[in-house]
Symmetry: C2
Subunit: 281 residues, 2 copies
DNA sequence: CGGCCTCGATACCGCAGCGGTATGACCCCA
DNA sequence: TGGGGTCATACCGCTGCGGTATCGAGGCCG
């Protein structure tokens, strides 16, 4: 099976429509139809059920969609990492990705400690929107990632724990609830007049709800300071707070684990060194 | 990048020789040379250093070999799982792989419990030589595997623990050492006249050493019974022992963990059900 | 119920690019 | 210095990919 065929198949599966998939691929419909038919013949499996409204996946098609996406990501990863290795011009280097505006404390400690190691290679840090770290690791844009359980999906990676912490509620200073010694998550999310902000999902859309739509921690904290929202954050976020904000520990919020994750079988010296340093912290 | 190019590249990298790689691929040398050169041009990276003796990998080439092998395995896995799904003819099914002659106890319990579940799908059990389970999971010949830490490489899979047990030394009944209440690994491996048998590595070759070369647990036990060898096995192996064998607990051997492992993001109903059953055991 | 619209499939054609053979350029070693 | 080895280049034939034109099959609506 060639990656071209796989890309064609995934496009058709995602559009449920050969014509739309063809225009998305920048080609005409007939050759795409033929390519799909040929793929089905070669696999000995019907992948789609043709209907007058378009096409729908068979069971085998669902399998190929799931597995094929992973395979395409792996091929992309191979290509990207090779390009990056070449661009580094013989000298080893490594790309680390982390959520923008989080874990700065642990990350600083890790990077400092690693830089002090003998034989340390260049570490390029790429900050990206929350939730995208795993994807970057999977498709080769990064070699190592700082992830957060239970928010990120760590399946398929090797990982080491860096930090385990409780979560706290951040709310406007002077708010009646701000003097409490502790609170439950249920109480925190139902404070009148202080809705939780909504974060974009992986595809960029927002969940429904009363809170404001935001994509930046600084914006959120500003809004909290203005008395328009409250937010739940890991305990370490206290370090970055300016005036005008109050902190109340949450008694029943799940703990947040900060981990360093890397693709399995990553034998690159940079990744190995970073991970070794991390485990010693 | 097309899988054809990747296969060509991997062949050349493995042979360190364009001509040999070409004949292994069943093609002539010139088109292979050209395909590699073209791949290098498209990636913008030198993959090989040409020498009069053949070719050697550059750093970028090493990256592509490592990542490319994983990518090819993923493509193969997609293809195989799709074929299998189609062959099951709409009805869901799942392939479980395990080391031949081990863990029969837990596996039997697991399969029985799962078969009793409502909506259980067919489970095909494939027994294969030790150490090959992870590979089968990676290239799509199996959907779930029973693995053993620390022997198998579980990286890149999701897994749940089924059983943790100590290891014991199996030696001929009546042997002077067989009456001891406990022993260290160092002592066990240095009993005069009772060498440890050697197992084949993944590539089929045997490590050096004094012990007999064997590939079957039954053969080994027979040899032990004859007073020609001793062997270290997980505690549960006691259940399968016939007469003529003695068991001595080992005080410092690492514990053996039996786990059920599956590829991440495996949404197939069969895998999900098996795993759910396993966690309840 | 018939005409129309929207699907995907088929037929046919031109050309890009893959693989083959023949040959060249270079290096090592006798 | 020539012979045998390496990989690269030159050139050719044909497979097969993608393009346009068209068809056949279902829904939908007047």
């Amino acid at each position: 099976m060639e990656t071209r065929e796989l890309r064609y198949f995934v496009a058709v599966a995602e559009e449920s429509h050969v014509g739309r998939a063809a225009s998305r691929l920048g080609m005409a419909q007939p050759p795409l139809s033929r390519a799909i038919a040929q793929l089905e013949r070669r696999l000995g499996a019907d992948l789609f059920v043709r209907t007058p409204q378009g096409v729908t996946l068979t069971r085998a098609g669902e399998t190929l969609l799931r597995e094929g996406r992973a395979a395409l990501a792996a091929v992309e990863a191979a290509e990207r990492r090779t390009r990056r290795t070449a661009a580094a011009g013989g000298r080893a280097s490594v790309v680390l990705t982390a959520k923008a505006g989080a874990s700065s404390e642990v990350m600083a400690k890790l990077l400092d400690a690693y830089a002090a190691e003998p034989g340390a290679v260049d570490v390029e840090v790429v900050l990206s929107p929350p939730g995208h770290q795993a994807e970057m690791l999977r498709d080769g844009r990064a070699d190592v990632a700082i992830l957060h359980r239970p928010f990120d999906d760590t399946s398929g990676f090797d990982a080491d724990t860096l930090l385990v912490e409780d979560q706290v509620l951040i709310l406007p200073a002077g708010h009646p609830e701000s003097t409490r010694a502790s609170m439950t998550v249920a109480e925190a999310t139902s404070i009148p007049g202080l809705p939780m902000p909504r974060w974009p999902r992986l595809d960029g859309s927002y969940p429904d709800g009363p809170g404001p739509e935001l994509r930046d921690l600084t914006q959120v904290l500003q809004l909290v300071r203005l008395g328009r929202a409250a937010i739940v954050l890991p305990d370490s976020a206290r370090d970055n707070l300016r005036d005008g904000l109050a902190v109340v520990p949450l008694s029943d919020a799940p703990q947040v684990t900060t981990l360093i994750a890397w693709p399995p079988h990553s034998t690159s010296p940079g990744v190995a060194g970073l991970v070794r340093t991390a485990t010693r912290l």
